[in-house]
Structures are given as structure tokens and as C-alpha cells.
Subunit: 203 residues, 2 copies
């Protein structure tokens, strides 16, 4: 095995994927070489193509192949609402609900002092610039910022910092996704913090 | 997201890896594009290189970049012993023990009727050819075949089929790795089948 240089390099390269250890990388490499060489070539092409063409939208910071992503370009969307999410996956989850018709801003991360991730690393300034200046001179200004970061310690911190920075601005309303009991769940099995929040935010 | 073609293609390609579902593929793609584009390029190069250069050893069927793998070429190995394993990972495990100095034959699979994997799919005929004909005219013939397939239902079946096919050959001895209690384990926590085998095979 040790002498098999290109197999070793492949296993090492696969280990750089998040959540993949030595054993998984080995299994993936063996699987590709034994059963799916076409899949291996396809993955190589997809990686090359994506690294060459995928960049960040100038407005919302999400992954796109254009200067401005299709969502930000879409004239049917409500340009006065800006939903702040942590990742493109979170944005996709919001989109799948079909309940939101405004624009997005994707932080591409969250504040995490323990991991040494500060406001600069997740481009908070870019968010404030986006809120302060409309995309085009005739563009609708942002009137509501909906904080949809995750309900984890880091996500809450990120939401708090953004809310603090926008405090005192009468032209921009800052809201947060409601905390409460998940749809379809039984109270008996919901954690106490969630029930307490649902009680406070009752309507 | 749907409009982001090369990102979608990358996620689809990553899903072909064993054990990777939609969410993992998404997380891998986002990680590579956001934090490790160099890793993505490295993986693409490693995949291309491996698919182009890795093939099977003519003698033992394992992955190698040469006609004959370094293990089969090694003059210090005992050429009269042939250890039959399912995968290169199993071969690597045997090698790490340092207790085996013979040659290998890697099946690259196991008999699995439920998954429609028969004797032809795992190249059993190649194994029998290897046992019948020495690699070179002056090569030592195989005198012992050590069955080191896994101790699972499929591995046991595979071992049984090979043993049956070599039955009645007085020139080749067929052995199987010993079943027994793992080193360092306490009897109380070992499963009953293992203890029963250890009792029968006591020495």
C-alpha cells in the first residue's frame, strides 16, 4: 500500500473533506477505483469547474456564477426585506418553505470567538454596506432585516451583534425568526427552553 | 440554488461517494468552496491521476501502478503462501501485523447472492489460475492458501466456496484464519458464538 503513490495521494485528498477520516477516505478511494471510475472522473471535472466558476454574489454574498445571483436579480422579489442567514444551505431551507419573497444576505459563517471567527471573517461590514446603500440608485432601500441565523449559541450571538449595530436606526426594522414549539411535535417531548420561549412569545 | 449549475453538479458528484447523502454532499461542497479551494483542486488532481494510473496487479489483483505490485515482486516474501483477502484495506491490515511474510490475492469483493455478486464478479477464476500456474516458469508453486476473508456471512461463504473448489488437491493446503477471543477482551463481553468457536478450536 505504502508504495502505491497515487492511491495514497487520493486518500489524503479525500481526507480534507469535512467529516471524512482515514477509514472513510480509504473506502471512498477503493469504491471509486473499483466500482465507479466514471464517478471519479465526473467528481474531478465538477471540482475543477466549481472552483473555477463559483464565486460570491456582489449583493447577497451567496455562491453564484454571476456578478449578481439570480435571486437578487429577480424583479418579483420584495427588495425591502433582507433575510440574514448563515449559509447557502440555510437560504435553501428558507426558499423551500415558499413563505418568503424578499431578498437574502448570506453571512457564510457565524461569529464564534472560541474558533477565532470575528465580525470581519464573516463579512458583517458587507452586510451593513448592503443595508446602507441600495444596490442601484433607483433600488428600493432595505426596510426590514430578518435575522434567521441558527438558534445555537453562535447563531444567537451573531443575531445579537447585528441587532445591536442596527439599533437606533428608525428606517430599518430588525426582526428575528420566532422561537417556539416545532410543528407536529408533542409538548411532552419538547425541551424546556423551547416551551419557555413559546410561552413568552405567545400570540 | 437551483440556478447554480456547477455547484449543483459538484453536490451530485460528491453524492456518488459511498456513505455521502444530500446533506453531507452539500456540506462538503460549501466547505471546499468557502474554506478550501486548494483542497478541491488537489482532490481533482488526485482523482484524475489515480483513475489514469491505478490498475490491478497481474498476479494478486490488488491496486497498483505497475504490471506487478511491489509485494508480488518482493524477493524476500515466501512465494509458497497465498493469503486470500477481500479488499486492499484487509491486505493492509494483515501487513500491519508484521506476522505474515507470504503473498496475497485480493478478491476485490465477496460472494453476495443477495446483491447479485457471483463467483465471476469477484474473479475467483483468476485466483484458481494463480494457484494452478506459477507466475514465472521458475517460480515456487503455491503450497498453502490462507483464507482471510471477513468473518461475516458473505466472507464465510466466499471462504467456503474457495475451500470446496480446492478440495481434493493434495499439493495445496487450505487454511482459515483462527476464530477466537480477541486479544485484550474479557470473556464476559465476548459474544457466545465467538466463545463457542474459541472452545472448539482450543489448542
Amino acid at each position: 500500500m505504502a508504495e502505491n503513490h497515487s492511491l495514497e495521494l487520493l486518500i489524503q485528498a479525500l481526507r480534507r473533506l469535512p467529516g471524512v477520516g482515514v477509514k472513510s477516505a480509504q473506502r471512498m478511494a477503493f469504491h471509486l477505483l473499483q466500482h465507479d471510475r466514471e464517478g471519479a472522473s465526473q467528481l474531478a471535472r465538477a471540482l475543477d469547474h466549481a472552483t473555477a466558476s463559483v464565486r460570491h454574489c456582489n449583493l447577497c454574498h451567496t455562491f453564484t456564477e454571476d456578478d449578481i445571483c439570480p435571486t437578487c436579480r429577480d424583479p418579483r422579489r420584495d427588495r425591502s426585506q433582507l433575510c440574514v442567514v448563515e449559509t447557502p444551505a440555510d437560504q435553501a431551507a428558507m426558499e423551500r418553505t415558499g413563505a418568503y419573497k424578499g431578498l437574502f444576505f448570506v453571512l457564510m459563517g457565524k461569529l464564534s470567538p472560541l474558533d477565532d471567527v470575528g465580525p470581519r471573517d464573516i463579512g458583517l461590514q458587507k452586510l451593513f454596506d448592503r443595508i446602507n446603500a441600495p444596490a442601484a440608485p433607483d433600488d428600493t432601500p432595505v426596510r426590514e432585516v430578518i435575522l434567521a441565523t441558527n438558534f445555537t449559541a453562535e447563531g444567537e450571538t451573531t443575531a445579537h451583534v447585528i441587532a445591536q449595530a442596527l439599533k437606533g436606526r428608525s428606517d430599518v426594522q430588525v426582526t428575528r425568526l420566532a422561537r417556539g414549539v416545532p410543528v407536529g411535535s408533542e409538548l411532552e417531548y419538547v425541551d424546556l427552553g423551547t416551551i419557555a420561549h413559546a410561552l413568552v412569545d405567545r400570540r
